[in-house]
Amino acid sequence: MAEEHEIIIGIDLGTTNSLVAFADERGPTLIESGGDGGILPSVIGFDVEGGGVSVGSAARAHAVERPLTTVYSVKRLMGKGLADLAEEVEHLPYRVTRRPSAEEGRDLAAVDIAGRLFTPPELSALILGELKQRAEAHFGRAIHKAVITVPAYFDDAQRQATRDAGRIAGLEVVRIVNEPTAAALAYGLDRREDATVAVYDLGGGTFDISILRLQQGTFEVLATHGDTHLGGDDFDRKIMDLAAREVAEQFGVTIQAPATRQALRLFAEAVKIGLSSEPRKTLQIDLGGELRYERLLQAAEFERMIDPLVERTLDSCRRALRGAGLGPAAVDHVVMVGGSTRVPHVRRRVGELFGRPPYTALNPEQVVALGAAVQASVLAGARRDVLLLDVTPLSLGIETLGGAMGKLIRNNVRVPCQATETFTTFQDGQTAVRINVLQGERELAADCRSLGVFELRDLPPMPAGMPKIDVTFLIDQNGILNVTAKEQRSGQEASIQVIPAHGLTRDEVRRLEEESVAFARQDLEAHRLIDLRTQVAFDTNKTEQILQKHSASLPPEQKAAVERAMAELRALAAASTDADAIHRRLQAFGRMTIPLAEIAMTATLRETLDEAQ
């Protein structure tokens, strides 16, 4: 008997676009309900006057007219503080600020929408919520679990923020998978040969390179490197900067109006895309009044502009190869992932580095979501023939006396992994110990990223140096840190209070989750009910038309049965608020009317032929 597996969806939560996919025994497919070919622009629009929130194309359509309340590229803000984003914020038309916090040392960025602050996880949760709804519309049932992908080079704070976003959207994130690893999974599934593969993943806002060894269903990451602030957005900015500079030179004006900047951004993006297939494109900007900026941009000039950025990605590739202990020639295939790998100059330079043309046959936008769906099916228990072995992208350590970074776990070590360190007290009667946990490759704590302060509490008061607390730092398969502590003598678990430097505390996430779940339940049911009722009206009207037109070619008892089912379905849809019941009845009705649809089609075909004669 076939086991009924829980539905776990795979989500690619991208800087520019987000996608949701599902895999069954036939393999992964993109969920395309909701339109846009299954590609949801990662844009959130707030209609402050109307009080509505839109996500996707609808939000993007209003980007120019509502620059202050249209949020895009929120992924670049995940797990970040305002101090990290100084350069970023300059380019964004919406307002980024710091979320007020009682604890010192915390710096969590937030977007100010007409006076209300939204943290990046809350904003990402709106995108995830839309994808969740699309999947629910597709399956006709509630979805509670997801695998979400993140850039391999995401640090702990960025991963935690992604998981928090899922929770706020009402999704348990059962696994966080690195994007290049997910892509390799989708790429390597059909190919059973053993190979060493490099996945070059250049998205809208992030870059990753992972070197993997594929053998017999095992996808083993040997090394990874990247830059979580480098992507196609930066190519657009090069064009924007050029235009802004020349506008200033020619007309002595600076482009400041948020609407103009937003328009310029969309235009720069279009020019970049155009230059992938054409040798030149014209940049035009209406500056109001009689002023009009126009100039021809040659592909070669664009390539010179972006070359330093591409060179940075190649430098990452070299580091990853070194981390894997391999030369470029040892790589059998170079797989290109992410929309920005459509830029010919990127393909050319990557091909030069590895000494072979990169593999571009995969759809670079879809492959990550498809891989996530495959991994989701493993977690659902539907398959066991695939094994992902990933590594931690960054070294983990603690701040030692004197401000050095004491490494406990090195980068490129396979996860899950753990390290234990013993701590003690420095003063008599001290009952708490604070540990600053760091990620990064630099020698000084100040140059590394603080994940937050972990405070061991409620230690029994003893003379200095007497307590011995073993603290275990465990990085799980998601690349997320879990810390536990045990007092050696008593063997008792010590309590740990975590204050994340750039993230939400557990309580904060719980509160946001409760708020949104309360909303979402009502929202979702209402939304689903509206969709279902619309569908019922559409299907029954259609059937009615067919019945009228082709009643002659239908046995009377069948006609009566269809009419009865139709009346019942309409009555149920009008009276009931039980979406599941309506969905079941609608599906049964659909199955029942299949012969009818066939009759209608044959008849139409005959008419067409008659007319043609």
Binding site: G327, L379, A380, R384, R414, P416, C417, L474
Partner: protein, 204 residues
């Protein structure tokens, strides 16, 4: 590090099949907590010696991981999932250490009661002499690529020689006396000196 304890239940408590691995029943995928201070060789079911077949090590690691990886316990209880994460961390560590010749030798030495790298940093005097001599040679070579390549080859040769000595000394430590262990420690320590030299020399 004290001598590893080797307590392996002989039968699976869940399905009664004989247990082939100390941490998992390969029949029903019931997990068992890893014994404290687990022996990495026992964990991967390999003979406890320095000279091991690397392919066999990788095979053992992958087949064990296929039974214990947390991704296969997605539908299990929270407790089982956490156990799978901890076991995988332990097995990953075992594989990382046994795969690397220098770490493997150090592990065997510490299991046999020898000093850790942190507590004994000594290096054979002849190695210190060589390293000093090579540093001078690098300085004299300046930008002479041919000469630097020759130096590099020499360092790589010395490193390989030391690894051979380590292999002879570490393969079977059952009869090793305190002097033997001190000597092995210093041989292992010396590899780092050669590695540092190699990282300073251009070209790979």
């Amino acid at each position: 590090m004290s001598a590893p304890r080797q307590t392996i239940p002989s039968k699976c408590l869940s399905c009664s099949a004989p247990l082939e691995s100390p941490i998992v029943c390969t029949g029903c995928h019931t997990l068992y907590p890893v014994p404290e201070k687990a022996d990495y060789f026992a964990l991967l079911r390999l003979p406890r010696r320095y000279r091991i077949d690397e392919q066999e090590l990788t095979r053992a690691f992958l087949s064990l991981t296929r039974n214990i990886h947390p991704d296969y316990f997605g539908a299990g209880s929270e407790e089982m999932r956490l156990l799978a994460v901890r076991l995988s961390a332990e097995v990953n560590d075992a594989y990382r250490i046994l795969k690397d010749p220098v770490l493997r030798a150090g592990y065997l030495l510490e299991c046999a009661g020898g000093a850790s790298a942190a507590s004994d940093r000594s290096v054979p005097p002849r190695v210190l002499g060589e390293v000093m001599e090579i540093r001078e040679a690098i300085e004299e070579a300046g930008a002479d690529a041919g000469e630097l390549r020759r130096i590099r080859d020499r360092v790589a040769g010395l490193r390989a020689e030391v690894l051979d000595e380590i292999a002879d000394a570490a393969d079977d430590l059952s009869g090793a006396g305190p002097e033997d262990k001190i000597r092995l420690r210093s041989l292992i320590n010396s590899v780092k000196y050669y590695d540092n030299l190699l990282s300073e020399l251009p070209g790979a």
